[in-house]
């Protein structure tokens, strides 16, 4: 249980030229759970491996607690890690694999056994304790690897894609149990994942990375409601934020469709438009969850009409794809919405849900018609 | 240039020298006269002569006592023919067999494959005497066909085991995809399976060639002067009047050449990776 600080950490591979990790700065509080989120090759795993000590740091420093650990060997850093490839010891039973880390601490064997049983019960692998790793499924091996890391008393816990092989039903249950466990034991944890659903479920704060650069480090709520740039806006959320090209003209903000015609106007006040400057091209973002659809003719201030092109009913909600004068939009509605493909629906896009981004840099300009909050560290 | 890479360069040079030095010395020897070679202490400085190579090519072994006829060029030709055709026959037989072993799990399949491999372990002397008698009675003694056939004991197991491993690594899904595209099984075998197993086939071919080339005992017993390869032919250099080291060295240099050429030719196939990212993970 310690703080973890990365200060301007970079990784450059010899001869590659480009930076796998570019000047990443993050301060993680004691007991905080954070996620490193991004698509393949964004630098998240490299960053994790630098914290673990499996990769050397080209620039910057990493501190566990108050100690700079750049040149400390992995075994001396007091860090527990669960690997994406499990890395279990084949000749040892599952029970012995899990207990392995505790042997170093020389705890009494009765206590070790008790803790192994308790963590196995939490991760639903109790009946596998006497088996050997090669004989159990990938999802089971992954849970053994997790158990081995979580059982230890370490300063920081690093989990690399910890639940990628689990079947969906188990994932929901284990996510909740693991989160409960991490919070109860005040464990400082870094989770690496490419699945933003996983990151949002587990983490107090999420560090979104792309091409080695930290895009935004904020709470899930802030990432969804106040994304710092277009990349974060389009990566977070299922469905992710709707993004439309638009232009500020005549005191209004007009969203353009594929043919560059005006599809609809965004209900932001004229001060927003004038702050942008007449004729300025921008990107407008609206979260699907904030768009209100009304079936059955119920209209409260609706100004737009959408033609439904698809309706994915997912049991507890539905995701509706529709067109507003040539512009494709996705919205999330309750399970009872009647929206057959081809039908027309009134649509409300609330002004306070609109986000404005700069077309060239991708950075957020306006949130709630206020200047955007800058990158949170 | 930091300390680690200087150390690495020095180590590599030393290792390289250790392995390449005998080769280098043999090449040097091939340009020396016997007197220079036997001089004590040995010296790399001498006046080079082509006399050894001339002797080999012209077929005249010049010794201190007199001149002797040798047929080294014929031996070289024989080695090339025997090794090349053995490998070709092994590939024609072995590649489809390796595919069968890789793809079709049939009863006794594993036993069969191991039996075929075991031929490599067996001491050749075990079979040589009976084979000699059979060969003589069916007229295969001292023929190319006879030796090529026997060489299959050396080359075929190698091809089978190496290529089978590579076929096993080719995903069956890729083959199924090609067939669903409308291509026949045969077309799939030639256009998909073989190209993807090419590094293995190249490695097996090269290795088999080397082993066939180096074989001594089969050629010695089952062949005579007309099919003698260089391994047997080298005995001729041990004459009653002494050993002509210079000419042996030149003969050695000649004998390396075909294998070297083959290695350079197959090298780019060996380096090719398998699957090349067409399959996830």
């Amino acid at each position: 249980m310690a703080t973890l600080k990365l200060n301007n950490v970079s990784k450059v591979y010899d001869g590659a030229g480009e930076r796998a990790v570019d000047a990443v700065t993050m301060h993680i509080d004691d007991g905080e759970i954070i996620a490193l989120l991004g698509s393949s090759g964004c630098g998240k795993t490299t960053t994790l491996r630098m914290v673990a000590g499996l990769e050397s740091v080209t620039d910057g420093e990493i501190r566990v607690g108050d100690r700079v650990v750049n040149n400390v060997t992995p075994s001396q850093r007091n860090i527990a890690m669960a690997f994406e490839t499990y890395a279990l010891y084949p000749p040892l039973r599952v029970r012995e694999n899990i207990a392995f880390g505790l042997l170093r601490d020389r705890a009494p064997s009765a206590e070790i056994e008790k803790r192994v049983k308790s963590i196995a019960a939490m991760l639903e692998i109790t009946d596998l304790l006497e088996r050997f790793p090669p004989s159990i499924s990938g999802g089971s091996q992954q849970r053994v690897s997790l158990a081995r890391a979580l059982i230890r008393n370490a300063a920081v816990y690093l989990l690399d894609e910890p639940m990628s092989q689990l079947e969906p039903q188990l994932r929901a249950l284990l996510r909740a149990r693991i989160k409960d466990y991490l919070i109860a034991h005040k464990m400082t944890t870094v989770v690496v994942t490419h699945d933003q659903t996983e990151a949002i479920a587990l983490a107090d704060r999420i560090a979104v990375m792309e091409k080695g650069v930290l895009q935004q480090f904020a709470t899930p709520h802030d990432l969804q409601e106040r994304p710092a740039n277009l990349f974060v806006a389009s990566f977070i959320g299922e469905p992710p934020m709707n993004l439309f090209p638009a232009v500020a003209k005549d005191g209004k903000i007009a969203v353009l469709n594929e043919r560059q015609e005006v599809a609809f106007h965004v209900p932001l006040g004229s001060e927003a438009a004038s702050r942008l400057g007449d004729g300025k091209r921008i990107m407008v973002g609206v979260r699907p969850h904030r768009i209100r659809l009304a079936s059955g003719g119920e209209v409260t201030g609706a100004t737009l009409v959408g033609e439904v092109s698809s309706n994915h009913w997912l049991g507890d909600h539905c995701q509706v794809g529709f067109q507003v004068r040539g512009c494709s939009v996705i919205a999330v509605a309750g399970r009872d919405l009647q929206a057959r493909p081809g039908s027309q629906l009134p649509v409300v896009i609330p002004g306070e849900a609109v986000r404005i981004f700069d077309v060239d840099s991708g950075a957020a300009i306006l949130q709630d018609a206020e200047p955007a909050v800058s990158l949170v560290v | 240039m930091n300390g680690k890479s200087v150390l690495r360069a020095v180590a590599l040079t030393l290792i390289g020298l250790f392995f390449l030095f005998p080769l280098f010395w043999v090449v040097l020897m091939s340009f020396m006269t016997n007197a220079d070679i036997l001089r004590n202490p040995p010296s790399p400085f001498f006046s080079p002569t082509f006399h050894n190579y001339v002797a080999l090519v012209s077929g005249q072994l010049v010794t201190t006592v007199g001149t002797q006829k040798i047929d080294y060029m014929l031996n070289l030709f024989n080695s090339t023919v025997l090794s090349a055709f053995s490998v070709i026959l092994s590939l024609i037989l072995g590649v489809p067999a390796a595919y069968a072993f890789a793809r079709y799990k049939f009863r006794l399949g594993e036993d069969m494959a191991f039996t075929l491999l075991s031929f490599r372990f067996a001491p050749p002397l075990l079979v040589l005497l009976p084979l000699l008698l059979y060969f003589q009675s069916i007229g295969l003694y001292d023929t190319y066909i006879g030796l090529i056939w026997v060489y299959q004991l050396i080359t075929l197991p190698l091809v089978l085991w190496i290529v089978r491993g590579y076929f096993e690594d080719v995903s069956e899904d890729i083959e199924l995809a090609y067939r669903l595209d409308g291509h026949s099984w045969l077309s799939t075998f030639f256009r998909i399976s073989i190209p993807l197993a090419r590094p293995g086939i190249a490695a097996a071919a090269l290795l088999s060639f080397i082993f066939a080339w180096n074989n001594f005992i089969f050629a010695l017993i089952l062949g005579s002067s007309s099919v003698q390869p260089v391994t047997v032919g080298a005995l001729a250099f041990v004459t009653a009047s002494g050993i002509e080291y210079g000419q042996i060295a030149a003969a050695l240099v000649f004998s390396i050449v075909p294998t070297l050429v083959l290695a350079m030719f197959t090298q780019r196939y060996l380096v090719e990776g398998l699957s090349l990212g067409a399959i996830k993970g």
């Binding site: 698509s39 909740a176 409960d180 949002i200 990566f235 049991g315 996705i330 | -």
Partner: protein, 360 residues
């Protein structure tokens, strides 16, 4: 007469019956999703339809013609694989052109058709790349293009989005139907992701342990699952299943659940006196931090999922339950354990027989 009919298909490996007497009829242009957990036999089923192996019994009829004795190359089937199965030594263009080459289609037409399909899947700018130079998403689209370009009668999609990053998988969920509709394809799509199944399928065939347990429209599979297994497979978090014994009591039917007693709706006579498994979905349980008439529980963990909060509750006697609610309530920023009260919407409850798991 259905376009693709599978009747009585069975296949065993070494005494182990992998699929057992499978039958289903698929209309022309229909998008059928075969959904099942790993090991249920769906890969074997697809391989049988494709012709990679022979069934022990049963028939496969496509457009009135039995194909079970035909080689794969003669079945007029297109297939996209989970691990792409692209030809590594050929460019993307050649990969996609392959089905056309086998039919000796003239070069000019090959060019047009390959480019059309590539443009629709937005990979026309990387056609000259080898597979190793393509990104995951591009490889998947190339595999899809190859399966569609020949306009086959039937398209088999073997969990094509499994190995693709979560974000691309989500985008393809909207793109795939659009692309497939353009080709008017009859599609069998195999997946382990229930959201994909519900979003994409005209019908969902749930395959468990080698047999179809329910073949129905997605709404029906979610709202009226045939067995406890099916109920658990559809829904995230999974449906809560608790063994109960409802009894007739004064004024109706009651049962004990999660440490408390609840009264069931008036029409629950059928379950009284039986050993049942009670099922309630997380979205049908309401949680309050203020005391209510509901069951007292401990709120152990909150995991936000998209726009909802998923809560892990533990009843006083130890039962774990999932509840979910939309974001934007007092529960939004809670962390750690809290005391709470849970109320269930029993009108939306499911009951299954405790012994065989079948719906009552």
């Amino acid at each position: 007469m259905a376009f693709l009919e599978i009747t009585g298909l069975s296949k065993s490996f070494k005494q182990h019956e992998v699929i057992r007497d499978l039958s289903v009829a698929i209309e022309k242009g229909e998008f059928l999703v075969i959904f099942g957990p790993s090991g249920c036999g769906k890969t074997v089923l697809l391989r049988l339809i494709a012709g990679m192996m022979q069934p022990d019994a049963g028939d496969i009829v496509i457009d009135g013609r039995s194909v079970v004795d035909l080689n794969p190359e003669n079945r007029d089937i297109g297939m996209a694989f989970q691990n792409y199965a692209l030809y590594p030594h050929m460019t993307a263009y050649e990969n996609i052109a392959s089905p056309l080459r086998s039919r000796h289609v003239p070069e000019a037409e090959v060019g047009t058709r390959v480019h059309d399909t590539a443009r629709m899947l937005r990979i026309d700018h990387v056609l000259d790349h080898l597979p190793k130079a393509l990104s995951q998403g591009q490889k998947q689209r190339t595999a899809l293009a190859r399966s569609l370009v020949g306009r086959p009668s039937v398209v088999l999609l073997d969990d094509p989005l499994r190995n693709v990053d979560a974000k691309i998988r989500y985008e393809m969920r909207f793109e795939l139907p659009r692309v497939l509709r353009r080709y008017e394809a009859t599609v069998i799509y195999v997946t382990q992701d229930y959201k994909e199944a519900m979003a994409l399928g005209d019908r969902v065939a749930v395959l468990v342990d080698g047999a179809f347990r329910q073949v129905a429209h997605p709404h029906e599979v979610y709202d009226a699952p045939g067995t406890t297994r099916i109920a658990r497979l559809f829904g995230d978090p999974p449906i809560n299943l608790v063994p109960v014994q409802p009894v007739t009591a004064a004024g109706g039917v009651e049962m004990n659940v999660a440490g408390g007693t609840v009264r069931l709706p008036a029409d629950s006579a059928a379950v009284a006196g039986r050993d049942c498994t009670f099922g309630i979905r997380s979205e049908d349980i309401w949680v309050s931090l203020e005391p209510t008439e509901g069951l007292p529980v401990t709120l152990e963990a909150i995991t936000p999922v998209n726009n909802r909060l998923v809560m892990l509750l533990r009843g006083d006697e130890g039962t774990e339950l999932f509840a979910s609610c939309p974001q934007g309530s007092a529960l939004d920023h809670l962390r750690g354990r809290h005391k709470a009260w849970a109320t269930m919407d029993l009108a939306r409850a499911h009951f299954f027989d405790h012994g065989d798991g079948v719906r009552i």
